[in-house]
């Protein structure tokens, strides 16, 4: 088996094992070399299905190479390189190791040709990425990480059951177009929906991403949700239900983004809003709209990483990214400010920046297919995203009222990483040709017409005018130290109380019962104790999640032995 028949995800996953073993500079060099090797690996692939394994009578396809998987493979690998450079200042190897394993899992999932392989990598992204949330440190990061992990594992379980239902009904676990009417369709749809942060399933995103370390959030922002977008595009393209879901995703988060104080949480809300555009594109399901989704995922990963990197640099230097505490940082961190503005211009879709050439494909297809309400909502969301991501983020961090905070410019490695992302943001905006050439379908679309440029400039500048006037007249809501209730309140307060009370009642009943039984069985238990010891295997209780974990470990071990043997 040659390297062109191995999933490029495995290059990163197995490569990540070496990171903690290498000392200082050697490790830094290796962290840059590994994603570069990954890029070479990608360039060696040719279309087709490879790496077939046989497991319980099913054929697993670990490497499916086509235009969809390649465009996501490329951008995931580029994002890995940028994130790795951004992480070079860290002394501890933990985050880089987890980050590489996480990136590799996401790439492995993108190249998966069947639902079981997809499931294995899907769950691996969950267990590796939670380490990045926990790296944020402190109790709140730990708790947010647990909530994040529960949602991610739940998504994986749904995918697993969906795959089993499909297998049962069709005898195949291949991952092709699924559709809601297919056996297991709804289960798989829900699995993808959780990871894609559909409305009411979205809170893990705004909850966990701002709690992660400055490096962790950069890794996180690239992979999980875009993997879900990819999976939806593969399995549910043209599903009408996705259009209202996506439209809701573009609109609701921006209201929260306006009043949110934690600037990384503002970015998490705008990430959710950007996913909405991609989901609408999948729902419309024409070649133009699907190309738009792929293109937007590509550009979005770069500018969102750039924005998270700039806020991460502020967090690293100042120790907070709360809008109420910041302001005037352009004096201390001028380069970071410039990079942040480039990211902001890109997400807003300014002409000559990357968002302009990708988002407009989705808007155009909505207009052309006569989804007028959706089109109007997307236009509203485009103005809104400029308002809160394009202006609010750079304004409150780097300008606004001078907080008096003075610090050093971001470390050199962070500046280089931001520089690379900024280069791509402008490069794609100025010259969209190479990106268009990578898209799943042939592109017949001209972003730069005088009419389109003028329309977009009007939309954005009048939004800027609205911001300026509201600021000038002090109507704009100030940044306040606060949290805003979102849907997660339901399970963090009433539901949590309910389970606590039920748990307490249950425990009381059980222990009363236990006392009675144990009195009767003391003699027998004593003998058993003697045989099996106090922490013997039979005495421990095993949660369902660990069962899933062991299934996964088994599959992985199998994969490993297969390649070694």
């Amino acid at each position: 088996m040659n390297v062109a028949e191995l999933s490029p995800g495995l290059t990163l996953i197995f490569g990540s094992v070496l990171i903690p073993l290498l000392p200082g500079r050697l490790r830094s060099a290796y962290m840059i070399l590994l994603p570069l090797l990954g890029l070479v690996h990608l360039s060696l692939l040719s279309s087709g299905e490879f790496g077939a394994l046989h497991y319980f009578g099913q054929e697993l396809v670990t490497l499916r190479v086509d235009r969809w998987s390649m465009v996501f493979g490329w951008i995931f690998m580029i994002a890995t390189l940028i994130s790795a450079i951004y992480a070079l200042h860290l002394r501890s190897p933990l985050q880089a190791t987890a980050g590489f394993a996480y990136a590799g899992s996401a790439i492995g999932a993108v190249f998966a040709g069947d639902l079981m392989t997809l499931f294995v990598f899907w769950e691996l992204t969950a267990v590796t990425s939670v380490l990045l949330v926990w790296a944020g440190g402190g109790l709140s990061a730990y708790r947010a990480g647990m909530r994040y992990l529960i949602m991610q594992i739940a998504s994986g379980m749904l995918l697993f059951f969906g795959a089993l239902v499909q297998l049962n009904a069709t005898g195949s676990i291949s991952f092709e177009h699924i559709g809601l009417d297919a056996p297991g369709g709804w289960l798989i749809f829900a699995a993808f929906g959780i990871k894609c942060a559909f409305p009411f399933l979205h809170n893990w995103l705004q909850d966990a991403y701002p709690e992660a370390s400055e490096v962790g959030t950069v890794f996180l922002s690239a992979f999980t949700t875009k993997l879900a977008v990819y999976a939806l595009a593969r399995g549910f393209a043209g599903e009408d239900l996705l259009i209202p879901i996506g439209a809701a995703m573009t609109a609701f988060p921006i209201f929260y983004a306006v009043i949110e104080n934690d600037l990384r949480r503002v970015l998490a809300y705008s990430l959710n809003n950007q996913l909405g555009f991609m989901v609408v594109g999948i729902g419309i399901g024409t070649e133009l709209s699907l190309n738009g989704t792929a293109a937007h995922a590509f550009t979005h990963i770069l500018y969102k990483a750039l924005l998270f990197m700039s806020m991460g640099a502020v967090l690293y230097r100042v120790g907070t990214v709360k809008g109420s505490e910041l302001g005037g940082l352009y004096k201390s961190m001028p380069l970071t400010a410039i990079f942040c503005i480039i990211g902001a211009a890109s997400i807003s879709g300014f002409p000559l920046f990357s968002g302009f050439v990708s988002k407009s494909m989705i808007l155009s297809s909505a207009g052309q297919e006569a989804y007028l309400i959706t089109w109007a909502i997307l236009l509203f969301a485009s103005a809104g995203v400029f308002h809160h991501s394009g202006i609010k983020i750079p304004y409150f961090a780097f300008f606004a009222h001078d907080s008096g905070k003075r610090c050093k410019e971001a470390p050199a490695n962070m500046l280089v990483a931001m520089g690379i992302a900024a280069f791509f943001c402008i490069g794609i905006g100025v010259m969209p040709g190479p990106l268009y050439a990578m898209l799943p379908y042939p592109v017949d679309y001209l972003p730069y017409t005088s009419s389109h440029v003028l329309a977009q400039l009007q939309l954005l500048m009048f939004s800027a005018l609205a911001f300026s006037v509201l600021m000038w007249t002090r109507i704009y809501p100030p940044e306040l130290r606060s949290v805003n209730l979102d849907f997660d309140w339901v399970y963090r307060v009433p539901l949590a109380r309910l389970t606590q009370r039920t748990g307490a009642a249950l425990r009381a009943t059980l222990s009363a019962g236990e006392r009675g039984v144990s009195a009767a069985l003391t003699g027998l238990l004593d003998r058993l104790e003697a045989q099996r010891g106090p922490s013997g295997l039979l005495r421990r209780s095993w949660p369902t999640a660990s069962m899933a974990l062991w299934v996964m470990v088994m599959l992985l071990a199998y994969l490993l032995f297969y390649y070694l043997g």
């Binding site: 103005a383 003028l454 009007q458 500048m461 800027a464 609205a466 509201l470």
Partner: protein, 85 residues
């Protein structure tokens, strides 16, 4: 809190901030004027109305901020809200 030795920047002067504010108005005016010289062709009929994108963006953003302000009244909680329970 600014150390006295630090020189004032261009943006530190209120008159320059005012200049930027006025510049935004001027740019918006110019963008409306530019429409007279551009042949508009959108995917949707209303895109051909004069200044549609400009006014849509303006109204959308004002409505967004006012609605968000109202929303905040209902949703705002102290920063340690979740830690307290």
């Amino acid at each position: 809190m600014t150390p006295p030795a630090e020189p004032k920047r261009w943006l530190d002067h209120a008159r320059n901030v005012r200049k930027i504010y006025h510049a935004v108005w001027v740019v918006c005016g110019l963008l409306l004027l530019a429409e007279l010289f551009v042949d508009k062709h959108g995917d949707v009929e209303i895109e051909h109305w004069f200044g549609f994108h400009g006014f849509y963006g303006l109204i959308a953003c004002v409505a967004l901020v006012l609605a968000a302000k109202l929303l905040r009244r209902a949703l705002i909680r102290p920063e340690d809200y979740y830690e307290r329970r």
